[in-house]
Amino acid sequence: MSKDRFSANNEIASPVIEVSNFDFYYGSVKSLNSVNMKIKPKTTTAFIGPSGCGKSTLLRNFNRMNDLIEGTKNEGDILLHGESIYRKDLNVTELRSKVGMVFQKSNPFPMTIFENIAYAPLKKGIKKRSSDLTDLVEESLRGAALWDEVKDKLHKSALGLSGGQQQRLCIARVLAMKPEIILMDEPCSALDPISTMKIENLIAEIEKDYTIVIVTHNMQQAARVSSYTAFMYVGELIEYNSTTDLFSNPVMKQTEDYITGRFG
């Protein structure tokens, strides 16, 4: 088989997300150029690439967080289960509760741990003092491997947790929303190695139930957690392949240079 730099796109038969000829502009500055990619369901996909190449921009389009920035514009399309997320009748808040997001800097709200987890479910109509809610909170915290550490202080401020715990709380908060897809934008870049390891283990654990897309600058991390890896460079998707192939046998020169540490 001849080497294809987008072989992932050929392998993935029924993608959950499909990006087609996607361009994105901040004002008049084009920051994504004709991106085509498919994301495989219940799998972890990693985005790598030098700073400013557009990883976050692409990721933040999957749940339309870029809508919040004024003067942005896009061409092409992104499909979720074959339907455009840019179609007129789409409910953006529904999209965002299907496509959850974890940010680089953990951002728990200045509320209690319980209230943070209950934030999204309460909006979906679950009753405030119901056992359903307490069960859901416990389940989400267990899912994020945080339960044992916080079960005695659920009603204390979330801001009292350590950085790593806060990030796992943010993951638990997303899990409580029962999303299909979880987007993570450099979720470990502000954390110590042990917290990072915990989150990586967590990703491995929840991968069977969720589609995860993770942006990372740490190539070892990408290699450890993901099945597919996309390499981006100056707004373009350069190479998209299974993680093992991309790291052991890169097709493009830029990819090779980047993963061997020659630039970026």
Partner: protein
């Protein structure tokens, strides 16, 4: 390094200056006011020409035109025409402090000094306290049932004559009889109380026939121990806070003014806070940045510099005449032409102050909204919140400390404003408080008293400057304390919220 040290010292120095200034203001006001609560001894001054005076020594002027002079507060204004007397020190033969001299605080005509000889002290006190009981009853009848009956009668009269309603005569008659019964009862009670008199022997031997009814309190200053005097001063201070004013505000307490000020500021806060927050949220979260929004924002910033009397005129024209007038025409047309809401009242004063302080609250709230970390908004949006949910759940709660700072500034400003109130309902003397036990309990249309205006009124409009000085300074002291207390409350609330939002709240 050395420069840094200099800056630190400078900083410390300016801090110290500010603290000293605040303390200085308090001290000066307190030093000028508090001594008025002290019960002074009453001197018996004998002159070389045989004249005798009883009075408090109010000051000595060694450099007067004709040699050293002493200022004596002799009281008995009704007889001597004035409270104070200047006597030449060279003509004084002797000064003594006989225990039996009595000082009487009265409802009218200031203090009286003299000696009571026709009745014993115990007996006097018994009669006096029984008369005071009666007086209290008379007052409460006058202010209470009789007042409301008369109000009802005038309403009924109005309906009968102006609107030719029928079938009301019987009710009117019943009320009139009730009123008459109360009135006769009152009159006989009053007569009985007024009849009781005693005689006071003045310094020059004149005898003044006085009514128990007019006496507020009797002291024997030269016969009171130090502890007793301290107790009397403390009691005097609290009476000043909790009693009604007497003698066109120069005597008695300032309770209605304190009450009016506090209620006014609270009402103002209730109006201005939600309004300011809504305006700020609209301006910063919803309005599209453009020429119009910029214009509005700058107008708001500039409004903070408009003289307060301008707001008073606005309040008079808009709230009192336009709004109050309309309310009267629609809901209270029965009583026109006498206005209900179409005249100054505490609600209009509070609304005027709310407009005056609105810019402060808006500006502070805008700052508060701006300071909410972007990541909280993003977090909320990413969890499927609508714009309104983001604002309600994370933006406003996190901007709350900033917004409350605005309210604190507004309270400080409002508590000290007098000018706009003079056009919107403050009065020198308000018979009834805006809250009381008569239906509907809250009377926002009523005129009110205010500490700031009280200072102005007593200080500048009083016929009896000497007597008023104490009231001026002590009212100022109370005003300062109240402004501090109101501020402190708001600051404590803000800090609680701020702690909850920060790490320390764990």
């Amino acid at each position: 390094m050395k420069l840094e040290k200099t800056y630190t010292y400078l900083l410390a120095f300016s801090m110290l200056c500010i603290i000293l200034m605040v303390l200085g203001i308090f001290t000066i006001v307190a030093m000028n006011g508090l001594p008025y609560f002290w019960l002074k001894n009453v001197a018996k001054v004998e002159m070389t020409d045989g004249k005798v005076y009883y009075g408090e020594i109010a000051g000595v002027n060694p450099k007067a035109e004709n040699g050293s002079e002493t200022k004596l507060k002799v009281g008995n204004r009704k007889i001597y025409g004035q409270d104070f007397l200047r006597i030449k020190d060279s003509e004084i033969k002797s000064v003594s402090y006989p225990k039996e001299i009595i000082m009487l605080e009265r409802d009218e005509w200031g203090n009286a000094y003299g000696i009571i000889s026709d009745i014993g002290g115990k007996e006097f006190d018994n009669i006096h306290s029984s008369v005071m009981e009666d007086k209290k009853e008379i007052m409460s009848l006058e202010k209470g049932r009789l007042l409301s009956i008369n109000e009802e009668i005038s309403k009924l009269n109005h309906r009968i004559t102006k609107k030719s309603e029928t079938g009301l005569e019987e009710k009117l008659e019943k009320l009139k009889t009730e009123s008459a019964v109360i009135e006769t009862d009152l009159n006989s009670k009053r007569e009985q109380a007024l009849i009781k008199t005693f005689s006071l022997v003045l310094a020059d031997g004149q005898i003044d026939e006085l009514k128990y009814y007019d006496i507020v309190k009797k002291y024997q200053p030269n016969d009171v121990s130090l502890a007793g005097k301290i107790w009397i001063s403390v009691k005097g201070f609290f009476e000043f806070i909790f009693a009604d004013p007497r003698e066109s505000n120069t005597e008695g307490g300032i309770f209605p003014a304190i009450f009016g000020t506090v209620i006014l500021v609270i009402l103002m806060s209730i109006f201005v806070f939600p309004l300011g927050v809504i305006a700020a949220v609209f301006l910063s979260e919803y309005a599209k940045e453009g020429f119009l929004v910029k214009l509005i924002r700058n107008t708001i910033y500039n409004l903070a510099g408009v003289p307060s009397i301008v707001y008073g005129v606005f309040g008079l024209g808009f709230f009192v005449y336009a709004m109050g007038g309309s309310i009267d025409r629609i809901f209270f047309s029965d009583y026109l032409p006498s206005p209900t809401f179409g005249t100054g009242g505490i609600i209009w004063g509070a609304l005027t102050l709310a407009v005056l302080t609105l810019p402060v609250v808006i500006v502070a709230s805008l700052e508060g909204l701006k300071s909410v970390p972007h990541m909280y908004r993003e977090g909320s949006y990413s969890l499927g919140s609508t714009k309104w949910e983001v604002i309600k759940d994370v933006v406003i709660p996190n901007a709350m400390p900033g917004m409350l700072t605005g309210l604190i500034l507004a309270i400080s400003r409002a508590a000290g404003e007098v000018a706009p109130l003079m056009m919107t309902g403050v009065v020198k003397s308000a018979v009834a408080l805006p809250f009381d036990s008569s239906f509907p309990f809250i009377h926002l249309d009523r005129k009110f008293m205010h500490l700031g205006f009280h200072i102005y009124d007593v200080g500048f409009q009083s016929p009896n400057i000497e007597a008023a000085r104490g009231v001026v300074f002590n009212t100022t002291l109370i005003l300062l304390i109240i402004v501090f207390a109101l501020n402190l409350t708001a600051i404590l609330i803000r800090n609680r919220i701020r702690n909850k939002l920060s790490r320390s709240g764990v």
